[in-house]
């Protein structure tokens, strides 16, 4: 057993100093209990998002228009499963088990990104998700590569390496759609219209309304604020939309010369909070499907267990 000779206040001061000096916190280091809890919440939520996020895109694997697109989509969805695993692994170093995290998800105590509670109605949605949703995720994840917790930071670095193919394949598959027949173009525009605002919501509430932000910034779990990240995403995405000749469904969107950034309209926060608290279009479906898949896999786990028992007894 570890016995600390310092008081909690001294330990916390030493911890904060280490964070301020940009030295990573590692699993066995002393950390404030609230830091640990905050991290478990954030990392497990991130892990659940990767895994639940496989559903809306997985919905189109069997109906991809060509074998090439099918293989690309399969590879992307498989990557997301891997991202979930890296992140569950990082969270487990904080003393929470995989089973506890899955249970918290099933009981609604743990959240996942609300973007995945929207349905994928057409093939164009798959392209728009890769382009917008993965781009938004990347903007956030790049900043998290510098997070103060070592295992989380390392998982983010690995994930970022893999993500750039996700956004590029999305944009690339939208190019022929957006420049195709009027019907194809309309399909791409419709997907854009439905996904734009939910994508902006991915960055979370305004800094002024965000419950977890101040402490997270002080502890350098988060490195940049929700509003900063959202602005970055808008600034980098507008020219890409112009290239595709897809309209962004926001009448207030315009370049602000003085700020050197795009101004954009207000998010519908009622919709945001409704989806976060469980009333989005697909919340129940996503959770049911996850639970079902978990139960359907039980016989595999059981077979593995039986095999291992047999192997050890011979």
């Amino acid at each position: 057993m570890t016995e600390y000779r310092l008081s909690d206040g001294e330990l916390e001061a030493a911890f904060q100093q280490r964070v301020d000096e940009e030295r990573k916190i590692e699993p066995k280091d002393w950390m404030p209990e609230a830091y640990r809890k905050n991290l478990i919440r954030q990392i497990s939520q991130h892990a659940h998002s990767e895994v639940i996020g496989m559903q809306p895109e997985g919905n189109w694997i069997t109906r991809a228009p060509t074998l090439k697109r099918k293989m690309i989509l399969l590879a992307k969805v498989q990557d997301e499963a891997g991202h979930g695993l890296y992140l569950y692994g990082a969270a487990e170093t904080l003393g929470v088990t995989r089973e506890e995290m899955i249970q918290a998800l099933h009981e609604g105590r743990a959240k996942y990104a609300s973007i995945f509670n929207y349905p994928t109605l057409t093939w164009a949605d798959v392209g728009v998700i890769g382009w917008l949703v993965d781009s938004a995720a990347i903007v956030n994840q790049i900043s998290l590569q510098r997070t103060s917790y070592g295992p989380y930071s390392r998982a983010m670095i690995r994930i970022c390496k893999e993500e750039s193919f996700h956004q590029r394949q999305g944009f690339e598959m939208l190019m022929p759609l957006a420049s195709g027949s009027p019907e194809q173009k309309a399909m791409a525009q419709d997907a854009m219209d439905r996904w734009w605002w939910p994508t902006l919501m991915m960055f979370g509430p305004h800094d002024s309304d965000s419950m977890h932000s101040a402490k997270s910034m002080q502890w350098k779990i988060k490195r940049r604020s929700n509003d900063e990240l959202r602005q970055d995403f808008v600034d980098q995405t507008v020219p890409q939309a112009e290239y595709l000749d897809l309209a962004i469904p926001d009448p207030d969107l315009k370049w602000n010369e003085e700020r050197g950034h795009y101004d954009f309209g207000e998010i519908d926060w009622d919709e945001f909070w409704a989806v976060v608290s469980g009333d989005g279009l697909c919340n129940r479906e996503r959770l049911d499907r996850h639970g079902e898949a978990h139960r359907e896999g039980e016989w595999v786990r059981e077979a593995m267990r039986a095999y291992e028992e047999k192997r050890q007894s011979t």
């Binding site: 590879a75 498989q78 990557d79 692994g89 487990e92 593995m304 267990r305």
Partner: protein, 92 residues
Amino acid sequence: MKLPLYEVFVRSKRGLDHRHVGSLHAEDGGQALKLARDCYTRRGEGVSIWVVRSGDIVASQEEDAASFFDPSDDKPYRHATFYRLPPEVKNL
């Protein structure tokens, strides 16, 4: 049900060390290897993988680091920079 935890080490190419890349749960070593391949080497990241039960690793304790590594802290003569040689002496 709890599967044991394995640590995964990947050698990115021949001639380099195996490096720790992360961990995963598996029933046995053989399964851990296959899962590690699918999880950590989907893009040619490795030519060889080691897996080892996390519980089998014996680790030094972070909080004891000061005293544990102390014996080598007062031996500056182990470093090349300890020795001052005249500038005209080359290749040393």
